[in-house]
Subunit: 255 residues, 2 copies
């Protein structure tokens, strides 16, 4: 199978024009088939605030009421996605911006209300990988916004890490997928105070051991659980690295 790079970028780097331009230059120079998945939470928070809408977060996840859904549809589906697409086109990349509703490629279900009502947030139900694979095979570069749809006419807000993971799993039926999560640090660190203590490779057993020893902790645990679940579902490797290190073979590799 052909290889495919799925790169997820989020945070400050996609929302400041200089760092975004640098990232897109690096992304455009990556060889072979590729997909970009972006976030945009800071811009959503900023536009929401300008519209007098307060952003509420629980466990790092945005509560998406009807007004906030409108904001994320504008910001993720419009502002962030279309500017990335236009920039990539100027770099010779045939980018196509997609939400899950476009081509019906990612269907989700509104998250059931348990302890927390996350509002219009979608848990991914299925991915139409054929239509994506077909576009990618033609040299098109999908740029995926963190929005899905429920098949009944509603858009839903879906975490960009999840979009990247689900797209990677589904596309692993068509390609040898490397899923790269760009992160604010250079990778998974042995010592959180030492930026150069990147763990080069993690297996399920070393992950379990490092978690027991308390070396891997906090928000990194669910990120890595997702990574192992992607591997179990057929993704060839997951890389956790810094955006500035893209394409340099650095970071933590999960196989």
């Amino acid at each position: 199978m052909e290889s495919l790079n799925i790169i997820k970028v989020g945070g400050k780097i996609v929302e400041e024009s200089a760092s975004l331009a640098e990232l897109l230059r690096t992304f455009s120079s990556l060889e072979g088939r590729k997909v970009l998945v972006h976030g945009g939470g800071r811009s959503a928070t900023s536009i929401a605030s300008q519209l007098g809408i307060e952003s509420k977060m629980v466990n790092g996840r945005r509560i998406t009421d009807a007004a906030m859904l409108k904001v994320v549809t504008m910001v993720y589906g419009g502002l962030v996605n279309k500017n990335i697409v236009a920039s990539l086109q100027s770099l010779g990349i045939n980018a196509l911006g997609l939400t899950g509703a476009d081509l019906g490629y990612m269907l989700s279900t509104k998250r059931p209300v348990k302890d927390v009502d996350y509002g219009y947030v979608g848990d991914v139900r299925s991915v139409q990988s054929e239509i994506l694979a077909d576009l990618i095979g033609k040299g098109i570069v999908p740029v995926l916004a963190p929005l899905t749809h429920d098949g009944e006419g509603h858009l839903l807000n879906t975490n960009a890490d999840t979009i990247a993971g689900e797209a990677a799993k589904a596309l692993s039926r068509h390609f040898d997928v490397t899923l790269t999560y760009c992160f604010e640090k250079k990778g998974v660190l042995m010592d959180e105070n030492d930026e150069d203590s990147v763990i080069p490779e993690l297996t399920r057993s070393s992950f379990d051991r490092l978690t027991r020893e308390g070396i891997i902790q906090g928000g990194m645990i669910p990120k890595l659980e997702n990574s192992f679940s992607a591997i179990d579902a057929g993704v060839k490797q997951v890389v956790i690295t810094q955006a500035s290190e893209l394409g340099r073979g650095s970071g933590t590799v999960i196989r």
Copy 2:
């Protein structure tokens, strides 16, 4: 050649959920290949106003400064486009929302400043019809937002009538194109006070005569000039009708 319906809708009808839902139901029931082109000016004005940005219009055209470009990118490319796409998906239509930057399908040049500085407004330079024709041939229904790109990384605001006309001209190399402009009246009227005085058919010579006689006047003249220019460029027919009359064979037909 196969036939293709390109339907342009704008104004109030796309911005009120009940009338939009009705329109999309009608659109989804139209037989054969189709494309939807939408506006969204009222929503843009409303969001801009909520953001404290004043909308300035000259000759019915929006002045698009940097702040307004951000708004129209959010509203046309995100809010309006993605909600239409999600609704069409729920109606069994495989919709794909596109700005001109997506797949690089519509390239424009920033309008030169003459008497008026329209700001970030793009005049269409070229259309990549092959990529659109290929999608349409696969049963995909493009939903075109009124945004183009300059190939240098910038989005530009482009009138939705123009997007529809340029897409129709370019696609007439691949399909027998009927371009329908949905309008607030039932068609071109012989008597502007009589809604039922629709002129069923216009040729260049009858248009010239009716214009000389003052029966056709105002904003209808450029609309019809555009229609004749589309016919000259290979579009099979242009229909001017009311959205509620879509698919009923009514309205004014220009051949």
